[in-house]
Amino acid sequence: MEQKSIFSVISPIMVGPSSSHTAGAVRLGLMARNIYKESFSKVKFVLYNSFATTGFGHGTDKGLLAGLLGYTVDDSLIKDIFNIVKDVEYSYEYVQDISRHPNSVDIIIDDRMKISGDSVGAGEIRINNIDGFEVNIKGNYDTLLLMYKDKPGMISEVAEIIQKQRINIATLHCDRSSKGGVASMCIELDIPAGDDIVNEIKKLSDVFFVTNVRKLK
């Protein structure tokens, strides 16, 4: 059993009213920000199930947007976020779909990237899909995320680059569209990978996209 911190029961400091529907929403937004990284001018949030039905009463809509803009869970400005945001166009859609987690969202940024995630309770979150690829990013580790053309040996090539820097891999998760198709890899690391690692992986043939996703505080 993983040992838990005392601060799992006497924290976090957060804006209310709900750890899953408010703090979790902010963290999903923050995680999407860490993945997308670039500035953006347009975002659409698709809220599912309980996020859709009770989200308005818990500030889920505000939390998601505020997180995406970089506000942290304890920022008192979150409740006024709609009055603060000026140059980002945002919209919401509400959907019931029992195949999705009860507290689930798609975040579509600039019509370019779709990031899906769940708020799994007590403010904990999980990003589970990016542009149709299964990923597994929980925000408690620095994660290296890459998309590449599926081929034998890719995992070991990437692992070698990380190993060279003496960074320990905590977990590794892969998914692919089809054999030889596009594949994704999520590698949780004990310490963040530097730009040198990202650049070296970028140079490997058949890698389309690499990014370093920082963990949440």
Binding site: M1, Q3, K4, S5, I6, F7, S8, V9, I10, S11, P12, I13, M14, V15, G16, P17, S18, S19, T22, A23, S50, T53, T54, F56, G57, H58, G59, K62, D74, S76, I78, K79, G121, A122, G123
Partner: protein, 290 residues
């Protein structure tokens, strides 16, 4: 090594206090100095005090428009009337409502153990500290004690209404507060755990059936009730009253009761208070409005 039961905690304590074991455990787990652990607890305590202060000033309602001004009503009564139970009682009920209402309006609070139950532990610690002039370092000890109790329970059962009903949120908060109070009043480890056991034993079966799925009805007022509940437990424990059923067994019962509880009564808002005639009417109005 994680402390998985209260029996183990007792053994670990020996001549040490619960809070000392708690800060040592956290220090070794998070690889930070004990002083830093205490600073982090102080940060929580400071945020709790700020939430109370903000909550006492505001009468702003939440998005639903149902709640947000009950604390003000209470304070008016306390100003105008001589109450039955005195200052500590007044402060606990007012501070618990102030915090829970602050949570409702998306104010800054400390989840303890959850956001829905955020008013219980702070109201008890801070009200008693003010009335008894208990210094800050003792308040930190108290919050660490509360945290240790919550942590051990959470190692057995997830502290979420959706998993085990409100007994696991406001109920456990009350047990945490009861232990914290005994610590502040100079009780020993045995008395701290007795207080927690007594508080927990008397909220077993508490359901989670919030109207429209919002953290409002019954959550907000429940914070005041369970703050006071903690005082009863602490007073009994401090004069030597014991829970016939030991705290570890009570914790197991809490978990088991959570499993036995129908999903209808675990945060799904498909039964209980959430499906009363009045709740359905409130729901209709609310969803038309939004």
């Amino acid at each position: 090594m994680a402390i998985l039961s209260f029996e183990e905690l007792k053994n670990r304590c020996g001549s040490k206090s619960v809070y000392e074991v708690a800060q040592e455990e956290e220090s070794s787990l998070s690889e930070i100095e004990v002083d830093v652990v205490r600073l982090k607890v102080l940060e929580d305590l400071t945020a709790m005090k700020a939430a109370i202060k903000n909550g006492l000033k505001s009468t702003e309602k939440g998005i639903s428009g149902w709640c947000g001004d009950d604390c003000a009503k209470l304070r008016k009564r306390y100003r105008d009337t001589e109450t039955l139970f005195g200052k500590v009682f007044e402060k606990i009920t007012a501070y618990a409502l102030a915090t829970a209402e602050e949570n409702l309006r998306m104010g800054r609070i400390v989840a303890c153990p959850t956001a829905g139950s955020c008013g219980i532990v702070p109201s008890v610690i801070i009200a008693v500290a003010e009335e008894r002039k208990i210094p800050e370092s003792k308040q930190i000890d108290a919050l660490l004690t509360a945290g240790m109790i919550g942590l051990i329970v959470s190692n057995k059962v997830q502290l979420a209404g959706a998993v085990a009903g409100c007994q696991a949120e406001c109920g456990v908060a009350s047990a945490m507060a009861a232990g914290a109070l005994v610590e502040m009043l100079g009780g020993n480890t045995e008395e701290i755990l007795q207080a927690a056991a007594l508080a927990m034993k008397n909220i077993l079966g508490l359901t989670c059936d919030p109207v429209c799925g919002l953290v409002e009805v019954p959550c907000i007022k429940r914070n005041a009730f369970l703050g006071v509940h903690a005082v009863t437990a602490a007073e009994l424990a401090l004069c030597g009253v014991e829970s016939k059923i030991p705290i570890d067994e009570v914790t197991d019962v809490l978990k088991r009761t959570g499993e036995l509880m129908s999903p209808v009564l675990k945060e799904t808002s498909t039964g209980g208070l959430a499906k009363t005639k009045t709740a359905l009417e409130l729901e209709k109005v609310l969803f038309n409005k939004n």
